[in-house]
Amino acid sequence: MLYIKCPYCGMRSQNEFSYGGDASIKRPELNKEISNEEWDNFVYNRKSLRGKHLELWQHLSGCRQWIKVERDTATHEIFNTYKADEEVSK
């Protein structure tokens, strides 16, 4: 069982959350010429890192906020959690 510290509600069990994937992916900007490759990278291509991974989770059965979680994909250790709009320095 993972325990995730929601920045709004505090420490909660994994069962209350749903996963949202890689949080480092940025949507191509609006009103700009966008190549197929850029769309590809946004929609499909993922690094799927082994080790420290910044990812989105939603506190679905709680405050329903989207949050960012920094987690190790090999050990499942959670280093830090952030609000969705917080900038995370690498």
């Binding site: 069982m1 993972l2 994994q14 069962n15 749903s18 996963y19 949202g20 994937g21 890689d22 197929n36 490759e37 769309w39 590809d40 990278n41 929609v43 499909y44 291509n45 993922r46 690094k47 799927s48 890192l49 082994r50 991974h53 990812e55 987690r71 994909t73 090999a74 050990t75 499942h76």
Partner: protein, 418 residues
């Protein structure tokens, strides 16, 4: 190579079975190979075997970080089927079914292929319609499919829950009688033994640390046991695909996720089919030892852990008990996990890449084991001829940018959507 036969078995009995040849050697890596296959799992071993057998390319090395058969080929639920709707998947898998039927003779190794049939249960009228459609598509592609009503399903699997007041009543099901199971380790060992006998070097405990790419062409690989020169490299590394892709500066439409399976204590024969639950994701069969072999959903978040988490296991087994209540009386014997190369449309990739001499075989999601022979056969063709075979033409890497997705069930990495 010593043939495995009743005569050799009797002959070796006189010397207490102490004089059998090793099934495969333990060679040190040579300086150069015509083809290097990275990954000594089912697909890698099968690829090497078909390179030697179908294309006479025997200067081949299989580079395996751990030991052969220690990854997903030894961790799956051994289900073999071709009950797909889309042509790409159906024709590819049915070609594989043919290889499965001949495999024990072909490899001179008993892979215990057991075509016991698979039943996908339906729990609503809409699902029955969808299954009728899929069954018709299968039959058009020459695959056997039978649509069963509730009573017909009850005759075959009376131990399922047919009571009136259940949340997901069984309306019927779609059966592929020729589907089944096989002994998964034997598949890896059988391919390894034959490949080795034709001159393939199976190099275990050897990790790939990098690639030599010169002017867009593969020139060799770097490993923990020295550099190896080669013009052709095939990647068959399932859940480790992204790790090697990073060394090649490639980003792929693949995420690595964890899939669990488990077995109960062994019990007397009760279930002689493979059965899947249609209102969730759960599949079950009974092994020859009597264990109920079960599996279901991904853990749901990127993982390289190779071991699972309890919430998903609980969820999966809840579905199992809803479908077959007797399971609640059984004790769990073992649970384990493997890391899956989940592609974004749920279908695999067997293709060339933008690097000359680098070939990609990945994205097997939930269905890698049953694809072992067809994957090896088509991948060997792709590598040997430097072009894809028509059977794997649909499994292209660029289908994601061109929009030619094969969304059989739409079950890729995003399980939270389904």
């Amino acid at each position: 190579m010593q043939k495995y036969s009743i005569f050799n078995l009797v002959k070796n009995a006189f010397s207490n079975h102490e004089n059998w040849d090793l099934a495969w050697k333990d060679p040190t890596p040579k300086e150069e190979y015509d083809v290097v296959i990275i990954g000594g799992g089912g697909h890698g071993l099968a690829t090497a075997y078909y390179l030697a057998k179908e294309h006479n390319i025997t200067k081949v090395a299989i580079i395996e970080k751990g030991w052969i058969g220690g990854g997903n080929v030894g961790r799956n639920t051994t289900i073999i089927r071709s009950n797909y709707m889309h042509d790409e998947n159906a024709l590819f898998s049915e070609f594989g079914m043919d290889l499965w039927r001949k495999m024990s003779q072909d490899l001179n190794y008993n892979v215990m292929f057991s075509p016991r049939g698979i039943i996908n249960l339906a729990h609503s009228d809409a699902q029955m319609n969808a299954y009728a459609r899929r069954g018709n598509s299968m039959r058009l592609n020459g695959i056997d499919a039978i649509l069963l009503n509730r009573e017909q399903v009850r005759e075959i699997i009376p131990m399922a829950d047919f009571s009136e007041n259940v949340r997901f009543p069984i309306f019927g099901g779609l059966m592929q009688p020729s589907a089944g199971t096989a002994r998964h380790d034997a598949v890896a060992w059988g391919y390894a033994r034959q490949a080795d006998s034709m001159g393939v070097d199976i190099i275990q405990n050897c990790e790939v640390t990098g690639f030599d790419v010169i002017a867009g062409k593969i020139n060799g690989i770097r490993t923990s046991r020295g550099n190896i020169k080669t013009k052709k490299v095939g990647l068959c590394v399932a859940g480790s695909t992204n790790i090697l892709a990073e060394k090649l500066n490639m980003t792929l439409p693949i995420e690595t996720h964890l899939l669990q399976a488990c077995v109960s204590e062994p019990v007397k024969p009760i279930l002689d089919r493979v059965v899947t639950f249609g209102a969730g994701h759960f599949y079950i069969s009974q092994s020859d030892k009597g264990e109920m072999v079960m599996g279901g959903d991904l853990d749901g978040y990127n993982s390289y852990a190779q071991r699972g988490n309890l919430p998903t296991l609980q969820h999966v087994l809840t579905e199992g008990i809803a479908m077959m209540p007797f399971l609640s009386k059984l004790k769990m014997l073992r649970t384990w996990g493997g890391i899956m190369d989940m592609s974004m449309d749920g279908s695999p990739i067997i293709d060339k890449t933008h690097i000359d001499g680098l070939y990609l075989n990945c994205g097997w999601c939930y269905g890698g084991f049953k694809a072992t022979p067809a994957s090896g056969w088509t991948f060997a063709h792709t590598i040997a001829q430097d072009r894809v075979h028509e059977l794997n033409a649909g499994y292209s890497l660029n289908r994601f940018s061109t929009g030619h997705l094969i969304d059989e069930k739409g079950l890729g990495t995003k399980t939270w959507i389904s």
